[in-house]
Each structure stands twice: as C-alpha cells, then as structure tokens.
Symmetry: C2
Subunit: 442 residues, 2 copies
Amino acid sequence: MSARLDKLIEFLKFPSISTDSKFKQGIDDCRDWVHAQFTEMGLKSEIYKTPKHDIVVAKNQHKAGRPTLLIYGHYDVQPVDPLNLWTNPPFEPTVRDGKIFARGSADNKGQILAHMLGVKEALADKKDLGINLSFLVEGEEEIGSPNLDAFLESHKDILKCDVVAVSDSGMVGPGIPTLTYALRGIACVEVKIKGPKMDLHSGVYGGGVRNPALAAAQIAASLHNEKNEITIEGFYDGVAEPQQWEKDQWKSLPITEERIKALVGVDSLYGEEGYSYLERVWARPTAEVNGIGGGYQGEGSKTVLPSEALLKLSFRLVPGQNPKDILEKVESHIKGLDLKGLTVNVEMGHSGTPYICDPFSSFAKLALSSLEEVFGKSPCLIREGGSIPVVESFKQLLGADTLLLGLALPDCRCHAPDENFDLDCFEKGIALNKALIANLAK
Amino acid sequence: MSARLDKLIEFLKFPSISTDSKFKQGIDDCRDWVHAQFTEMGLKSEIYKTPKHDIVVAKNQHKAGRPTLLIYGHYDVQPVDPLNLWTNPPFEPTVRDGKIFARGSADNKGQILAHMLGVKEALADKKDLGINLSFLVEGEEEIGSPNLDAFLESHKDILKCDVVAVSDSGMVGPGIPTLTYALRGIACVEVKIKGPKMDLHSGVYGGGVRNPALAAAQIAASLHNEKNEITIEGFYDGVAEPQQWEKDQWKSLPITEERIKALVGVDSLYGEEGYSYLERVWARPTAEVNGIGGGYQGEGSKTVLPSEALLKLSFRLVPGQNPKDILEKVESHIKGLDLKGLTVNVEMGHSGTPYICDPFSSFAKLALSSLEEVFGKSPCLIREGGSIPVVESFKQLLGADTLLLGLALPDCRCHAPDENFDLDCFEKGIALNKALIANLAK
C-alpha cells in the first residue's frame, strides 16, 4: 500500500486547477508527472498540445486481433474555495479514517491513478497485458473539455478502440460494486426578461407596468403542473419508462429516502408524482431553475419595479430526448406565454445528449464479472442523474460504448471542501483494472 | 428672478446626502443655511438635534384666533450614483431649457424653497402674514424619516396646526395645477426560502429534491390570477371602488397611456383587468416583486440546485386596507401553499397606512382657489400611487390633514441622474405659497 499511497500523494500535491490561469504551472507540472508515470511503466506516452491544457495519450504496443481498451481520466481539478471550510489544506493530502482528503482525490486523480497503477503492476508482473491499451488523460474536464471533441475527431486513428473504461463516477455505497449504464443529458437555457427601460418606483408605476421580476417567476412557475410534471408541450415525447428490472434493482439498493434526506438536510423529498426518488433522478427528465434574479436583493427593502430579470434554466434529459428538440420546445413554450409589456430573449446554452448502453453486452458482462471478482459480490446496475459529456463523444466520435466503473463513495464531497477518496476504493480500483484487463485478454 | 434663482443655486450646492455619513458636513452646512434663511426673513428658527440629522423648525409669532399652517419639507437628498449619467455634476446646478439640473432640485429643495421664498416675500411686503405659520424642515426624509415621528410626538405643542401643506409630489403636467388628495400605503414582506443545506448538483439531485429558486418563483406567481387580480384571500376586503367623479376627472387628464409607454419605454401597459392605467396605479392595491434571487446569476451557466432563495415583496395599499391585516393575510397565503421540502420564513418589513382626505373640505377649497389664481385654470384632483408616510404621521400625531401641492413635473427624474426642477414651477410655487397664505388669512 505504501508505494501506491505515496504515488497518490505525489499526484494530489499538484494544484492543477484548470479554470484559473494562476495555476498554469500546477497544471503543466501535473501533466509532466502523468507523462512520466506512463513512460516509467513502459508505455509510449505523448503530450498533445491543445489551445489551453494538454492531453496525455499513452499506449502499449497494439497488436492485431486483440481487443482495444481506452481508459479515460483527467488530471485537472476544481477550484478550492471556500478555503476556510477545508480541514487540511486542499493540496496537502492527509489520511484520516481510511480516506485521503485533498482536492482532486476522488475527482479524478484517485480514480484514474487506480487504473494507472493497475496497468503498471500488471506490466511489472508479466510484461504483456494481452490486450491493446490506450490511456487518454486530459487537463480540461473541469472546464467542460473545450478541446477534447476536436482532439478525438483529429486523432481517431490513434484512439481507435472497442470499448472505453471511465472511473469518474460513484459507487452506490462502500464495498458495493457498481456499473453505471446510463446518464442524463442536459439542455441549458437563459431567459432574459426586459420591461421598462429603467427601474421604476413601485408606488408610482406599480399595478400599471409589467414587472419583469414577477414575470420571471411566472415563466418559471409555468414549467410544472401541480403533479410536478413538466407542462412544456411534447416534452416527454420519446421518453421510455424505466424497465421493470431497473425498478426492482433500484428498490433493492441501500439508497433510501431517509439517507438522502439526511445527506442533503431536508425533511421531505419532492418531485414528479408516480415515481420513486431514484426513478426521478435517474430515469425522468427535469426542468430546474439554476438561477433567478431581478430587482433588489440586498439588505432591507427597495421598492423598485425592476427593469429586467433573468432565469437560468436547465433540463436534464433521458434517453429518447434530444437536446436540440427540447430547446425548441422550451422556446416555443415560453414564447406562448403572456409576455405582454415585456421583451423576452431566450438564449440557448450548452447541451449534452443523454447516454445509455446495454448493461448486458459482452463488454459490460466482462466488466460485471471483474467487479464481482474484486468485490466478492454481485454488482449493482445503476443510472446516474448527471451528465458526463465525454461518454457521448466517445460514442459519436469513436463509436465505442463506455463502461462507467465509478470508485467514489456518496460522501466523497466532489467539487466541495474536504473532498476525499476512500483508500479501500483505491485498492479495489487497482485490482479492478487488473481483473478487467485479464478478462478482456481471455 | 435672479435673486430667487441665486438662492436656489446656493441651496442646491450643498451635497446633503442623508444616507451616506461621508456627507455629514454637507448635511450640517445645509441645515445651517436653512436655519439662516428663516432667521434672515424674520422667523424664529430653532435647530432640533436628532440621533442622526437635525430638524429645523421656524415660526412667526402665533396669535390666537388665526388659522395655523404647517409647511413641511426636507433639506436632505438622495445619493447621486450613477455619476456618469449626469450631464452636469449633481452639485453644480446648471440651467438648461428653463429647468435647473441638480440633485435635490425637485426633491425637495426647489419645492420647499418656493414656500420659504413665498413667506419671505410676503413678510417683506407687509410684515404680518395674517396667519400662524410653522415650517418643519427635516434632514432624514430620504432615509425614511427614522426620527420624525418621535419628534412630532414630543413636540406636538409647538407643531400644533390646523392644516399642513407639503410640496413634495408631482403635477399632472406643465402649467396644470394639481392637488393630491390620496396616497397609497405600503406593506413590505421578505420571504426566505431554504431547501437543502448546501447547493446541490442539479444532475445528481435534480427531480428529487425541492428547488428553492423554483419555489420562490412559484410563491411569487401564486399572488395573481390570469386577470392580474391578487389571489390572497380577503386582500380586497374594504377596498372602495374609485368614485365616478374620480374616474371622469382622471379620464380627462393629459396623462395618456401613450405618454406613459413612451416615458417608461414599453410597448404595452399591464395590470388588473377592468381598470384604466390611472385607476390601477392610484386607486387599486398591488402585489409586486421588488426583488427575487436564488442560485447562479453570473455569466454562463452553473447547474446548481440552490440551497436557498429570497423574495422581496411589497403591497401598495389603498384606503380601506390596513397594513397589519394585509401582512397577516400575505403570511397565511404563503403558509397555505405547498411548501413541502422547504423551510419558509416570512418576515414583515416596513409598512405605511394609505391616506385619503376630503378634497372638498374648507382647507382643500382654499388650496384649490389658490392654485386656480396662480395657474389661471381649474386644478386637477388626483391621487398618487406612492406613499408619503409623513402625511399619515401628521394625521395621526397632529390630527391635521395635508394639502399636497406638488410642483414637480413628470420628467423631473427624482432619485435619478439629471434630476431637474422647472423654473416656471418654481416661480408658480412662490406665488402659490403667497396666495395660499393670503386666502387662509381672509
């Protein structure tokens, strides 16, 4: 363990924050470290320049007639604010209670390093992996991978593969092997609502001129009915109900409503009628207000009828929905409301296609048996509510499905202070990588 | 004119911004200047200390058997931001096109100075006004007159009066004499909506946990029905319809919907069905969102399910409504909504009682004939949509009605850059003061 942990600590010490140019040195040093690890273990590693942060690709010698596995991860991390909420400094990794605390520990350094060390140890054991292996480790995941699609497009030849493995998601709970086979997509919309050309006195004009802050509220409130179903016409077109085996599987998971309530600190959960919590977050689309703002938000009161307001909406999408189609439907829903006295601008933001793959394909079966070997129990098959856009890119640009083999526990605090990675998950991840390669080689 | 204008320019040069302690010297210098004017014209003037900015009271010698008129105004002004939108610096008064541009020119220095100069000139003409006169000029109006009620309460004896005159409101248009006989009241409410204990990832939790930003929107949207009537139970109890003579009078005013639309920059007005624009802003109560906020409001998108959101609501009230009763009804309306998964805190803010006086009382008739004398035409009788809380204080604490003799034109830009006061209104205001005193003395 000690050598493995030392490597992890080395990796975690780089302040490789991709969004902040002050940390460019941290990013570049971290890139070089990753490159050096691959070279040291005997892979042929190359650093590819991008307009921002570079991509490291490492490969063993590919031979015809062997399956090709592409392992994806990222060496960049989220910012660390608010710093005062960290128990230890975020780039001084500290082990407590079997977990290592540091920015990037779970997302994604701990997880990608488990694969790297698995390959290193497999190579040290027997020189040949028995499969064609490629690593793709980027430095821009936390800023939305702006250069990755172009890179995949222009380097299809060297990235050609049969299947992709990504450990950048979660496990159902400690010791519970998990394969994620579906992700929700996303469509973001920003709505700008303009009324009078200047803020007005709400005494002088109130009741006579349309109030954009109230209109923003009315637009947002129009998205759901009293059953919390989304009212946008055609929104659910093509949405498949979760299958019976999925419902049964999810009911048996140790993710209880009580646990979720305690985790997020609410006394009741909420959402679309007729579905369980997990069905709602994994298999049902949503309409969320990520931001709303208008008028005076400071202390005390200011009796203003504001000139403008804004709404930041996002829609989580499930297989069968298409972001472009949804954005059009959202726009026509909004344009169909009573917008008298307003100028309303609906602007399309980023989007991502929902992803689903067959959890009973031959590759998925190999992943499931690898998980069972390592964890000693039958794996859970889950969906996830979030989006991992790169998975859809692999599907579109490389034609390959992705095995999502998450190693992070629910309390890993990704993106938050005291981010941590369980050291047992780290060990299991190394073993899982070795098992997967061995099973693929068979 | 020149001597009058010189006085106005002197008065306007003081940066007497009451909300900002950096301007304490400007406030104090301005107070001393007002005090000196009163002394110079032969009134007995006194400065009364308050915990913040002082009050100047000036009186002639009161004699039994004569009516007593109290004239109220304020020497403090609003802040000047945004400074870059001013054509001339706000404390360097500049005359253009028959108007003087400076902060405080209309609100309220130009208007109160018209009264001061009227009295000065009347005293210079004939030594005795024929009535008992008191001036009350405060320095805290723009910060909500926090010390005025206590002062009125403790100085009832010296402020005893039969009627109050206040020029701190508007005229219908240039050259149109205007008496305002009713004001809307106000009740402010802040609603804090808390959901999960931290911001959540809208992919991971979206659809399963209540979103406070969406809930804020739903609460705000619940306040009106599709006719733009307010849906709070009992909200309209006691509200009297505007009388037929009022509707007829207002229809004949040169305040057209076209003019309002051009003034505020919208292509249609908006509000409660079945009422004209002026009826809605003068004689109907409102429910406005002065501020709404929750989640991410910066550039781009952040797919967060926010932990909390807030609503700043205010309700403009009309005669027959009582702020305390309305606040209770608002609270029970909100508590009656579906607040599952949330903690909602409804906090009462400041409030003011609506005001109405009889525009056909003997004092009002004297004011109307004074207006007609000076302007050469029959005055308009209007209500105003805003609140002037001091008017209600005069009623409650001194038992006197207030004659609201506004001298500001609709484009005076009170509280905004390029605030201005029409010099013809200034002249007419001086003449009006003299006519009113002469008529009261008869």
